[in-house]
């Protein structure tokens, strides 16, 4: 390995999961130069998945979510300060406090933030929240402890659904309002969404789909909301779960290929500039990255996934200290999990990259199943409910572009296996954004989907 790549100055902007894992990997690979981590959040890196689960349930204090280190990083931490710009010629990161950080190589892991409620006056009402940071989660948990009469959750993506689940588990009344036809459709398609809707209602959620919240009402303090169907809900807490916004604004003048869909990069995590020319000193990883994936026709993917943040950060860090021929591509198969309403939902592949879905194992009735997604006759994703052990098998089918529908396996397979449309919606119809954004074209939906 060339000596100079192991030395010099590396700055990582974004000090959450991806930034931390990248810092560890840089040291593991022998980087001996100076390492600086910049984070807007004043807290050192913490784990976000527990925020909508253990923390909202009141089982874990919001501040008890710090991430463990894999190894010492020997870094300078600049926390509670935001990066405001990047000078690619002088190779400096500009900070909100006026400081400038010179770098030889830069890693951008600025992630996303919660999409705020669009009306600032209504968003400022006491009792209106978003959920992204540990501070957000702590505040919401405190309000849930106080026993509100009703919680309104706006948006039924994964975060919104997990919030609703926590509320029901606490015995609180909850209304979920979603503009799309069902919960989770943005990530898992309409066929799966129909299941999720049944699940929420069976757990006592007042689920309203096909509606939007037109106003949050109150006088200083939230008292309720008005819906587009003319109905009105009384609630003293509203959690806005309308998806995430990628933190790219600070790069607007940088000349990089950064925008609302993220910062585009090559398979080796090297950022593109706005001309589509790859840089060799600016890298990107995690939620803010848009990267090409060969399993999904090299469409640029943006993944808001815990696992992707870790794996992409490792690849980016490796490539930052490795000469060209030793660099690696980021080819990990996308995967995520969610637990809600007593069920464990796990996904591999990209369910929205599909035209059909088939129930391959189990059944909704026994709340244990595997749904396999296909696109133009090959397997592209699988989602399990309380059947995680099966997913590895389907991951291999995805990796090998196995034919769809897959050969029946297991003793719990439904007879017959009939594909139905996966019914992936146009993201524009959803309240919440999809957690996987295919930023190229949407796959066509002319084929019919598999279902029993």
């Amino acid at each position: 390995m060339s000596g100079d790549l192991r030395d010099g100055r590396i700055v990582i902007v974004g000090a959450s999961l991806a930034g931390l894992r990248a810092a560890e990997t840089l040291r593991e690979k022998g980087f001996a130069g100076s390492l600086t981590l910049v984070g807007e959040d004043p807290r050192p890196p913490y784990d976000r998945p527990p925020l909508s689960k253990q923390v909202l349930l009141g089982r874990v204090p919001a501040e008890d979510t710090g991430l463990p280190l894999r190894r010492p990083v020997d870094a300078q931490w600049k926390l509670g300060v935001r990066a405001t710009g990047l000078d690619p010629i002088e190779k400096r990161v500009l900070l909100a406090n006026g400081e400038q950080l010179p770098f030889d190589r830069l890693l951008i892991t600025t992630g996303t933030r919660a999409r705020p409620w669009p009306n600032p006056a209504e968003a400022a009402l006491d009792g209106v929240f978003t959920l992204r940071t540990s501070e957000d989660a702590g505040r919401i948990a405190e309000r849930l402890d106080a026993g509100p009469r009703r919680v309104l959750v706006i948006g039924a993506g994964f975060t919104g659904s997990e919030i609703a689940s926590a509320c029901r588990e606490r015995g609180l009344d909850v209304t979920v309002a979603e503009r799309g036809p069902a919960p989770l459709v943005g990530a898992l398609g309409g066929s799966f969404g129909a299941l999720a809707a049944k699940l929420q209602r069976a757990h006592g959620v007042d689920l309203r789909c096909g509606v939007t919240v037109t106003a949050l009402t109150g006088n200083g303090r939230l008292t309720g909301a008005e819906l587009s169907d003319g109905s009105r809900i009384e609630a003293d807490i509203a959690v806005v779960a309308l998806g995430a916004i990628r933190n790219t604004e600070w790069l607007a003048e940088s000349g990089l290929a950064a925008g609302p869909r993220g910062l585009a990069c090559d398979a080796g995590c090297r950022a593109f500039n706005m001309y589509g020319i790859v840089t060799d000193d600016v890298f990107v990883a995690g939620d803010v990255a848009r990267f090409p994936h060969p399993l999904f026709e090299y469409q640029l993917l943006s993944l808001e996934h815990w696992g992707n943040a870790v794996e992409q950060a490792e690849v980016a860090a490796h490539n930052m200290v490795s000469p060209g021929p030793l660099r690696r591509p980021h080819l990990a198969v996308p995967a995520f999990w969610s637990s809600q309403f007593g069920l464990n939902i796990k996904s591999v592949g990209v369910p929205t990259f599909s035209d059909q879905v088939v129930l391959a194992q189990g059944s909704p009735k026994e709340a244990r199943l595997v749904a396999v997604y296909g696109y133009r006759g090959r397997v592209t994703a699988a989602v399990s409910v309380n059947q995680a052990k099966s997913l590895e098998y389907y991951q291999r089918l995805i990796e090998t572009a196995a034919p769809f529908p897959p050969e029946p396996v297991g003793t719990d397979r439904p007879e017959p296996m009939t594909p139905v449309p996966s019914d992936v919606p146009d993201p524009a119809v959803l309240s919440h954004g999809p957690t996987v954004a295919l930023t190229g074209h949407l796959p066509d939906r002319r084929l019919t989907l598999v279902r029993r």
């Binding site: 000090a15 931390l20 050192p44 890196p45 784990d47 998945p49 527990p50 689960k53 253990q54 089982r59 874990v60 008890d64 979510t65 710090g66 991430l67 463990p68 280190l69 894999r70 990083v73 931490w77 926390l79 815990w306 696992g307 870790v310 995967a335 995520f336 999990w337 637990s339 007593g342 069920l343 464990n344 796990k346 244990r368 309380n386 059947q387 995680a388 052990k389």
Partner: protein
């Protein structure tokens, strides 16, 4: 010491919930719920649980950035 579990990797074998029940518990049939900051007196059990995990999904380590607080 803090912990994080890679729940992509976790398959719900529940070895950890058996070895350190005050820290790891199954939430429903398959979902794992845990305390990211386990009580001091549970650390030995947590280490045993991490070692016993069939898919090696549990990471135990010093809290990141603890020195900058």
């Amino acid at each position: 010491m803090n912990i994080v579990v890679d729940l992509n990797r976790c398959q719900g074998y529940a070895q950890c919930a058996f070895l350190a029940p005050q820290v790891f518990e199954m939430h429903g049939e398959e979902a794992l719920m845990y305390l990211p900051v386990p009580p001091e007196d549970q650390l030995e059990r947590v280490r045993r649980a991490a070692a016993a995990c069939p898919v090696q999904a549990i990471l135990v380590g010093e809290e990141a950035g603890a020195d900058v607080r």
